[in-house]
């Protein structure tokens, strides 16, 4: 069922036509009537989006030939799917993820997303700290209904960590994400908050559950305390959401229902419908930002080491990265498909008008992978893309190539600052930095 927002509004307000381009945004003011940290110049909050794909790229065909801004640089082969967004894009090459590469694919993914070494326990591993999306969400995600959302066409267990052994599992079904965000309980702008006596009762349940949780916490060791604290955080989020449901929804001009996704996206010829599924996710997640249900999302398109079959190629992705001879035309073809998916995510963000510009202009979209060249499991010359410019705080239409294999964590620190999260440093050990990357800062 696809609901038309205008019809709904008209029905509700007796046929009055709602003006578009509503003024910003008392809702984005906090209770003191002042704006939040991280707000853009035209009064919108900055949003952070992560797009990740598995198995890296081919540096020879990834790195643009020339450096600089504007006309000084051109897109490379593998970046051509992003042609429509060249002026939104910062391509950063030559950066190094220098943590010990003790768990191919995952160690460098941990280095890029946490600035820390992977935590290895025997043959098992976990990330040692929170990933960049959660570092930022902890600061800017407090006011929205959901601190962050995670999803992906074929994301595996996901790469969004709150800390060791604490993942945020990605939604694998667009319909499940749609139902969660836009199902019962969702109100369009102009509608009134839900008057529902069960909301208070549901909160009273959570109070008792949290008391139980705290009682157990007192009796267990440190690691289990932390696990239960993580669970408690989730319950607190839930309680906050129940409270917010009683408020009127944000008065946001751009907020409407995204297209309803398909029930399922079955494989065709053993190949997932990557682009179709990703497109559905992209539309839902963009609207989740526009409706201020969240300010942070992670689109984990494919997972590290993914061995999925893509359209038009003859073997699994990971196998090809190691076995395909020569210049690896099929691996190249898959990277192109990953960039097409990234372009689709950008399109969804660009299609939504917000204030005088586009939603994309108020976003920082960070795209990266788990390795650079998969055949070598390399952490050198890591793939790093930033789109959207974070409301004018980061340069766009630029290719910056590090001359010296700089620490990739510099990008993490710069992104935090661009989002209004003012940290003195980022990462630890080989991933530790105290300076960002001024070359891409405005």
């Amino acid at each position: 069922m696809k609901l038309n927002r205008r019809t709904l509004l008209r029905g509700m307000l007796g046929g009055a036509v709602i003006g578009v381009g509503l003024p910003p945004l008392e809702i984005f003011m906090n209770v003191h009537g002042t704006s939040y940290a991280g707000e853009t110049a035209d009064g919108f909050p900055r949003r952070f989006c992560l797009f990740s794909w598995g198995n890296g790229m081919l540096p020879d065909r990834w790195v643009p030939a020339s450096e600089g801004e504007g006309d000084a640089w051109e897109l490379s082969d593998q970046l051509m799917p992003l042609a429509a967004f060249k002026s939104d894009l910062a391509v950063i090459t030559g950066m190094r993820v220098g943590v010990p590469n003790i768990e191919p694919h995952h160690a460098t993914a941990a280095g890029m997303l946490t600035g820390m070494r992977i935590l290895k326990e025997g043959d098992d591993w976990t990330f040692a700290g929170p990933t960049i999306d959660q570092v930022i969400a902890s600061e800017i995600g407090k006011e929205s209904l959901y601190k962050s959302i995670e999803f992906g066409a074929k994301p595996g267990d996901g790469l969004s960590f709150n800390g060791p052994h604490s993942r945020n599992p990605p939604e694998q079904s667009p319909l499940a994400l749609f139902d969660r965000l836009f199902g019962s309980g969702f109100s369009l702008p102009g509608e009134e908050g839900v008057v529902d006596p069960t909301l208070a009762l549901r909160r009273s349940i959570l109070d008792v559950v949290m008391e139980d949780m705290k009682a157990v916490q007192k009796a267990v060791g440190a690691a289990d305390k932390a696990r239960l604290e993580q669970h408690l955080d989730g319950i607190r989020d839930l309680e906050k959401r129940l409270a917010k449901l009683q408020e009127d929804p944000p008065n946001l001009a751009a907020c409407e229902y995204p297209p309803t996704p398909e029930d399922e996206y079955p494989n065709i010829e053993g190949r997932p419908q990557f682009q179709e599924k990703n497109k559905a996710f992209a539309d839902i997640s963009a609207m989740a930002l526009a409706c201020d249900q969240t300010r942070v999302f992670s689109n984990m398109f494919t997972k590290p080491l993914t061995n999925s079959l893509f359209q038009e190629v003859s073997a699994g992705h990971h196998q090809l990265t190691h076995d395909e001879p020569g210049e690896q035309p099929q691996v190249h073809q898959i990277t192109i498909q990953c960039m097409e998916a990234f372009a689709a995510q950008l399109e969804s963000l660009a299609a939504i008008e917000e204030g005088d510009g586009r939603l994309l202009d108020h976003c920082l979209v960070f795209a990266t992978s788990d390795v650079s060249q998969a055949k070598l499991h390399s952490g050198d010359d890591f793939p790093i893309l930033i789109a959207g410019g974070a409301g004018g705080t980061l340069k766009r239409d630029i290719h910056y190539r590090s001359p010296s294999g700089e620490n990739a964590s510099k990008v993490l620190l710069t992104m935090c600052r661009a989002m209004g999260v003012d940290l003195p440093e980022f990462g630890s050990d080989e991933g530790h930095v105290t300076v960002g990357l001024p070359e891409i800062e405005v």
Binding site: P104, V209, D224, L228, D233, H377
Partner: protein
């Protein structure tokens, strides 16, 4: 896995190649083999309790056991995560995400609503008839009775009060007894006392050195290990009478429980974790390469393996190593086509004996193994070898080194088959260390392609299925299977896996002597699974713990 360490000669050999990370400790081979009394007399330094969360399957089974098959459990739950391949261990380490907390709340509300929705259901699950819209006494009776089963222990007075308060406020607000009571039931079902298995143990009177699990805690430990679900009423009664801290009381329940059909589900679940059968759900092959692939193949393969396990463990009480050598199996039409044998039944599964002269036998001859440890378009001697090392022999295979060109040499007139190319690959010293550890095992199974079809040619070249397993040469798949079954490290590894499963954690160094003794018992008893489960339960490793320092 964190507790794994390689043990005997192979590991020593490989140390020289930089492949095995830690020195062998020889911890799980018994020095003496003399101490046959499992309960007494073993040097044990008990491990602290862990805090496992119910797996998705346990949650679903619990809802079923509590409220019957009419009540539909929630479909979305926090996903299980594995540690060292085992979900039962991962569940004691991983945290619940915000999405998971939301799903637990939604799921609990949905279950509670169903339980109290219809007159029939109310009659079945309410211990009293409400006197009106608000009836605190009846609510109290219900919460008492449900609480015992849901939390697997009696609730304290304060805990009952808190839930009665939820119920009565809800009844008043909603003007409905049953709707109101469903809020209290929903609270019981999203409590950590339901979702987690919290254990503190108790000091043993008169024996100041020993701390044991309480009788109530033992009830849950037994039911989740032996049944993979919550305790039934008889077990709760035994717990209430403090019987489960005594040898006799424990033995009586173990014997009863092993004879109950629920033990079948638990054994299947262990094998599913150990042999990674739960990963078969997502088995994907390229249908343009493998005409026999279909989306349900993984499920069929899992069913085949579990039917065989059920037969070996329960019908025959056989030496579990038979799993690797038996010619008996159960196939449906799809599997029969892949195995190139006549289908014995047009619907479902039928028992078959694989041809004696063929290369296909045992678990290594099944799609469950051959298809899972392979690529979407081809076989992988490496992946198959890694599984044997890590899961069947409990040896650690290090990750490939970084910044090395991992490409396998391209086919050439001198190296046509994948085996030839991998052998060429092993001439690179930085690859050889580990590939020499794994690939020669997988060479024995090159007669089976990436989906498990038998073949004699690979890329047009004749397949040579000979290889070696720890200096023992084998000529083909059948000899390899026998080699794994008779490998001296297999029994200790199997004991380690089952012990880890039972305790939701890997063994600690303080349990080395106990594991050695369990291994001896397992070997002398003929490598049988059910007696080993019983021995684990009766052992102090399952009944004692170290006090937790909060």
């Amino acid at each position: 896995m964190q507790w794994s360490g390689s043990k005997v000669g192979v590991a020593l050999l490989l140390l020289g190649m930089g492949c095995v990370e830690s020195a062998p400790t020889d911890s799980s081979i018994s020095e003496t083999g003399q101490e046959l009394d499992v309960v007494e007399g073993v040097a044990l330094d008990p491990a602290p309790a862990v805090l496992p969360r119910l797996t998705s399957e346990q949650y679903h089974r619990a809802i079923h056991d509590l409220f019957g098959s009419e009540v539909i459990p929630p479909s979305g739950l926090e996903p299980d995560s594995d540690q060292g391949g085992m979900i039962s261990v991962g569940t004691a380490i991983s945290s619940v995400s915000p999405l998971g907390a939301e799903q637990y709340a939604k799921g609990a509300a949905a279950v509670a609503e169903q339980v109290l929705a219809t007159p029939e259901s109310r009659a079945a699950f309410l211990p009293c008839v409400p006197s009106g819209t608000v009836d605190a006494d009846c609510a109290r009776q219900a919460i008492d009775a449900w609480g015992l089963r849901i939390w697997r222990r009696p609730l304290t007075g304060a805990e009952v009060d808190a839930h009665v308060a939820i119920a009565t406020v809800s009844m008043e607000t909603l003007g409905d007894f049953h709707q109101g009571l469903s809020y209290a039931l929903s609270a019981l079902l999203q409590s950590p006392h339901f979702l987690y298995r919290h254990m503190e143990g108790e000091a043993v009177e008169g024996d100041s050195g020993i701390r044991r699990y309480t009788s109530w805690e033992m009830a849950s430990r037994l039911s989740f290990f032996l049944w993979n679900t919550i305790p039934d009423d008889l077990l709760l009664e035994a717990a209430a009478s403090n019987a489960l801290v005594t040898d006799e009381g424990l033995a009586e329940q173990v014997s009863r429980m092993m004879g109950d059909e629920r033990s079948g589900g638990a054994v299947a679940n262990f094998f599913s974790e150990w042999l990674h059968l739960y990963k078969l759900k997502g088995l994907t092959k390229d249908p343009t390469v493998f005409k026999h692939y279909s989306a349900d193949l993984g499920e069929s393969a899992r069913e085949e393996t579990l039917r065989g396990v059920e037969h070996l463990v329960f019908q025959e009480d056989a030496d579990i190593r038979t799993l690797f050598t038996t010619r008996r199996t159960w196939v449906n039409k799809r599997l029969a086509a892949i195995y190139n044998i006549p289908a014995v039944t047009s619907e479902g599964f039928g028992e078959v004996m694989l041809p004696l002269e063929g290369q296909r036998a045992g678990f290594f001859g099944q799609v469950s193994f051959l298809g899972l440890h392979a690529h979407p378009v081809s076989s992988s001697p490496t992946l198959r070898g890694v599984f044997v090392r890590e899961e069947l022999l409990c040896q650690s295979v290090p990750s490939p080194p970084a910044d090395t060109n991992t490409a396998i040499p391209e086919p050439s007139p001198d190296a046509i088959t994948l085996k030839d190319r991998l052998q060429e690959h092993m001439t690179n010293p930085s690859c050889a260390g580990c590939h020499a550890f794994t690939d020669p095992i997988g060479f024995g199974l090159e007669s089976f392609d990436g989906i498990g079809r038998y073949r004699i040619l690979d890329n047009g070249g004749a397949i040579d299925p000979s290889g070696s397993l720890d200096e023992v040469e084998f000529a083909d798949a059948i000899e390899l299977m026998e080699g794994v079954a008779n490998h001296p490290e297999f029994p200790a590894c199997f004991v380690e896996k089952l012990y880890a499963y039972a305790n939701s954690r890997g063994p600690t160094p303080g349990e080395a002597a106990l594991l050695a003794q369990l291994t001896d018992t397992f070997i002398t008893g003929g490598h049988r699974v059910l007696p080993l489960m019983e021995a684990i339960v009766m052992s102090p490793g399952f009944r004692q713990l170290q006090e937790t320092t909060p």
